[in-house]
Symmetry: C2
Subunit: 142 residues, 2 copies
DNA sequence: CGAATTTTGATTTTGATTGTCAATATCAAT
DNA sequence: ATTGATATTGACAATCAAAATCAAAATTCG
């Protein structure tokens, strides 16, 4: 498996250690079905490697994300925010991962395109959430 | 303020009571800046109505969302899920609010359009998260 | 008003995630 | 292979937002 190598490379590159647990967790995770939570993964791992702790699963998942081998839904934000609904127009958000700024924008084409895709999949959209993470104008330079 | 009426209507319609706290919370919330958290709102409310409890703020925000007067970022999902990154292709998600199914899809036009909008706002996208909430094919009928 | 019902708010509980720390494992240099 | 410096582990505790609890208070409507 090539991804195991990627992980090892990443670890060495950062001066981190290639441990048995990290390899076990990566192995199970990479072969797992999609959208798995840390705890689900922990369950699965325990069936084969009963000694691996939940904390280590969390820590290793973080490493996998950093190594580009995992993607994480629910980025940043850990609390729920609310906003008054002014008119009827919906807006989406840029979120700067450097300074935390939230920039709103609207784009009807984007909304239309979403509806089109939904129709293709026979899905009825009631609401949506689009978050674009990156650097705002100010934080672009580094 | 018209929105206050909307809330009253909504409450009566559901056989709920129009209470002082609900009106106070709605008043402050509707006049507040965007992206406020339950706790931030609670602080603001306390400055004027010191007796309102945090629980009531949470409960009232829920009602405001149901009444269509507030929108809530970070819908559904309360846990973080991870998935292996197979290739380089990104995908987005439909999430059924009835059965919880997560349906993946890819659409390059959507990605391109996002990039275009970002360019307009001088924002550099590193990653994004698009969640379309609604009913899947099975749950459409009701 | 007064009874029936809902709501409130102080507090506790929940549940996911992160922090702590002594014991253990890894790795580079002997 | 052994050592020593350093990183990691796993059990457990701590955090933190959000939900649940429940007796006291407020609201509604006849």
């Amino acid at each position: 498996m090539n991804e195991t190598k990627t992980l090892r490379q990443y670890l060495r590159h950062r001066g981190l250690k290639v441990t048995q647990q990290r390899e076990e967790i990566a192995q199970i995770f990479l072969g797992s079905k999609r959208h798995i939570s840390a705890e689900q993964l922990h369950q699965q791992i325990r069936e084969i490697y009963p000694k691996v702790g939940l904390s280590t699963v969390y820590r290793t998942l973080k490493l996998l994300v950093e190594a580009g081998l995992a993607s994480q839904r629910r980025l940043g934000e850990r609390i729920t925010r609310f906003e008054p609904v002014a008119g009827d127009e919906h807006h989406d958000h840029f979120i700067c991962i450097n300074c935390g700024a939230i920039i709103e924008f609207e784009n009807q084409d984007l909304e239309d395109l979403q509806e089109e895709v939904a129709k293709k999949h026979k899905f009825t959209i009631l609401r949506h959430n689009l978050e674009l993470y990156g650097y705002c104008q100010k934080c672009r330079r580094r």
